[in-house]
């Protein structure tokens, strides 16, 4: 175990000292912080702090007290004067026929009143309309229909009106795929480095190909875990701070069950990508050639992003289910569907089993192709040689 550990340590330290790793690892939390910060700023800064005025010609609000953020005017002339004087953001006019269907008007100068101001006036009107209802009914009607969806199969619950509940899994899925693919990129580099630096023979006479592959994959797995841990910690910290700062994030709950699913999918996903990249590193002549092919391979992992709108609009469609069952797209599709539907356990199980099988096959192929490929300096292996390697005819040891 000492030799794979040495290789893992070597690869880990080499990768985390790379400028690209530092930039990506710190850049994402900074970007996340910037997005959260911007949201908090928008949510807390309602723009104009002036109230919104209203002129009630319908008599609906006669018995109501002006709510916070609103100001009553006796007629439109005085409201207009206040608007010109800049003491209100704008004003509503409830026409005499409002209750019989006549539309109200909103008057402003150049910029429409803020969302907060409009919400304050809406609340005032709704309260007046519901004045003869009991407080419980009023509260229900004002809150709207908030549904909690529950899967009869696994009991998982989902709130229908919490936009963050689908955004967070989506972001988690993105980060996950990015972490897997970037560490796969390092792995490809780690393989082609041996080839480009002509160190393969030194390696082959120091440890077995499987020890080398295991060490490299373990080191870069740790790199991916480090990256995910930093991103996860940054996300939790940012959400905690944001929840304390604004109502927008107050109801946010960390989807721990999804985090568990991430962990379950992570190892086989990484093993699958690792197997593909090791085999690719053995077949290609240099890193540049490898990266071109890796780009195509990566498409199979990020395909759900291109079908984002369809998956979210119809999360239980045959396409979404097919992508959940397909090994390379399984996790990202699950993450996308997580916030908008309850993914049946059987679909996740089938996707995961497929992923594990593919990962085992990929590692097997990688180990076979690796040794013969590694010694082919500066040239690409022919498919004939690869086929022979898979049949074990070119292999030693």
């Amino acid at each position: 175990m000492v030799k794979p550990w040495e290789v893992a340590k070597h690869e880990y330290l080499k990768a985390v000292r790379r400028r690209s790793f530092v930039l990506a690892t710190l850049g994402f939390p900074l970007l996340f912080a910037a997005i959260i910060g911007f949201s908090v700023l928008v949510a807390t800064d309602g723009g104009d702090s002036q109230p919104v005025g209203y002129v009630d010609e319908s008599g609906l609000l006669a018995a109501s007290q002006p709510a916070a953020g609103t100001q009553a005017f006796a007629d439109e002339t005085s409201a207009r004067a206040a608007l010109d004087a800049g003491t209100v953001q704008g004003y509503y006019v409830l026409p005499p026929g409002y209750l019989s269907g006549e539309a109200p008007r909103l008057v402003y100068l150049t910029e429409a009143p803020s969302d907060d101001a409009r919400r304050a006036f809406n609340r005032l009107v709704r309260s007046a309309l519901l004045a003869d209802q009991s407080p419980e009914v009023r509260q229900r009607l004002e809150a709207g229909l908030s549904v909690t969806m529950q899967s009869a199969e696994d009991g998982r619950e989902l709130a229908s009106d919490d936009f963050l509940s689908f955004l967070i899994p989506l972001f988690a899925g993105m980060f996950y795929v990015f972490a897997v693919l970037s560490s796969a990129g390092y792995l490809l580099q780690a393989m082609t480095t041996e080839k480009e630096n002509r160190t393969v023979e030194v390696m082959a006479t120091s440890l077995s190909p499987m020890q080398l592959i295991t060490g490299k994959a373990a080191g870069l797995f740790a790199v991916a875990m480090t990256q995910l841990a930093i991103w996860g910690a940054a996300a939790v910290l940012a959400l905690t701070i944001a929840a304390a700062a604004t109502d927008l994030f107050r109801g946010v709950q960390i989807p721990w069950s999804l985090m568990g699913v991430v962990l379950i999918y992570f190892v086989p996903s990484f093993a699958l990508v690792a197997g593909i990249m090791i085999a690719l590193g053995g077949v290609v002549a240099d890193l540049q050639q490898g990266q071109q092919i890796a780009g195509i391979v990566n498409l199979f992992f990020i395909m759900p992003f291109f079908l984002f709108a369809i998956i979210l609009a119809r999360p239980d469609s045959p396409l979404a289910i097919a992508l959940t069952l397909f090994p390379t797209t399984a996790f990202l599709t699950v993450a996308m569907r997580w916030g908008v539907t309850t993914v049946p356990a059987w679909q996740m199980a089938v996707g995961l089993i497929g992923l594990v099988i593919c990962a085992v096959v990929a590692i097997w192929v990688a180990a076979r192709v690796f040794r013969i490929g590694m010694l082919s300096y500066g040239q690409r292996l022919s498919w004939q040689t690869v086929r022979r390697a898979l049949r074990g005819r070119e292999l030693a040891g």
Partner: protein, 307 residues
């Protein structure tokens, strides 16, 4: 010093290896014993590197048997082997010392011990002041010396060096020869593979000559030279000595012409032939000991002393 009574460190018996239609190694056999320097000689592309790779289990032979330390190659035996491949390999963007420590660790060495031993080697080979430099910033000769350190630092029982002197200046070539001789005196088994036969003939105890994948000559250097004694002449003088009857080859070394002779041709016949020519002027003529280069030319042309 050859101790053939002991168990061979390496035993190659009738190995064959083909790549597609090309037969790279064809029925090669030899043994290498502890405490000897064994030369694997032959021109570029003869099959020497493939034979080494078969020996080290990097390739598996199509036929024949390879035994290292008395049996098939196993993972535990790798720590007892130091191999300097023809394709020199070091991580170019890494620092010299950390690369050497990493390689030593992969040979099973403790890190502190590796650092201690490396310090001594780096000083001896004038690389100590360059140990914090990236490998790519070192000259080719320095990289070559670093590779030699990496091959020897874990004190292997079997040392295999492919083209040991390529890229080295005469001073460092001498230094490396000294180091190889020291390793032999320490009882280690050394296999040197090279196409520069004149570089190793004074060092090697025994050799195998490989040509086109086949072993064409195998035995102790002294014995082989005795067999081919008198089959070459050394000439100093003026004129063109490249087309002399009964001569297989003609090349200059240290200002003198070296002429290996065809089988059945005596030095006296060559002297008579040259004396009758007016376009050459001879200042010195002597029967020479055939060099390994000469012997190789004679053997591949079928001009053995018995032939």
């Amino acid at each position: 010093m050859t101790t053939q009574s002991s168990t061979p460190t390496v035993q190659i018996t009738g190995v064959r290896k083909s790549f597609g239609a090309v037969r790279a190694v064809d029925d090669v056999s030899f043994d290498v014993y502890p405490g000897e320097i064994f030369g694997m000689l032959g021109p570029n592309g003869a099959g020497k590197t493939t034979t080494i790779r078969l020996m080290l289990d990097i390739f598996r032979p199509d036929a024949g048997k390879v035994a290292v330390f008395g049996g098939p190659m196993e993972e535990e035996k790798k720590n007892r082997i130091g191999y300097m491949p023809e394709e020199r390999g070091m991580y170019r963007d890494q620092k010299l010392e950390s690369t050497l420590v990493y390689f030593a660790r992969l040979k099973g060495m403790d890190e502190d011990e590796a650092r201690d031993r490396l310090a001594g080697w780096l000083q001896r080979l004038d690389l100590y002041d360059h140990r914090q430099k990236r490998v790519q910033d070192l000259s080719k000769g320095m990289q070559q010396k670093a590779q030699i350190i990496s091959t020897l630092v874990h004190e292997p029982d079997l040392i295999i060096i492919d083209e040991p002197f390529s890229g080295l200046d005469p001073v460092n070539t001498r230094l490396v020869k000294e180091i190889i001789e020291e390793q032999r005196q320490a009882g280690r088994t050394i296999i040197m593979s090279t196409h520069q036969m004149y570089q190793v003939e004074a060092l090697c105890n025994r050799i195998v000559l490989i040509d086109k994948g086949r072993s064409v000559l195998y035995g102790a250097v002294d014995e082989i030279k005795r067999r081919f004694a008198g089959n070459a002449v050394l000439i100093e003088g003026e004129g063109d000595f490249t087309s002399v009857d009964g001569v297989l080859d003609a090349y200059q070394r240290n200002g003198a012409w070296h002429l290996p002779l065809a089988a059945g041709i005596s030095p006296q016949e060559v002297l008579r032939s040259l004396a009758s020519r007016e376009d050459v002027h001879i200042e010195r003529f002597e029967v020479a000991e055939a060099s390994l280069d000469d012997i190789f030319v004679m053997v591949v042309q079928g001009e053995t002393p018995d032939g």
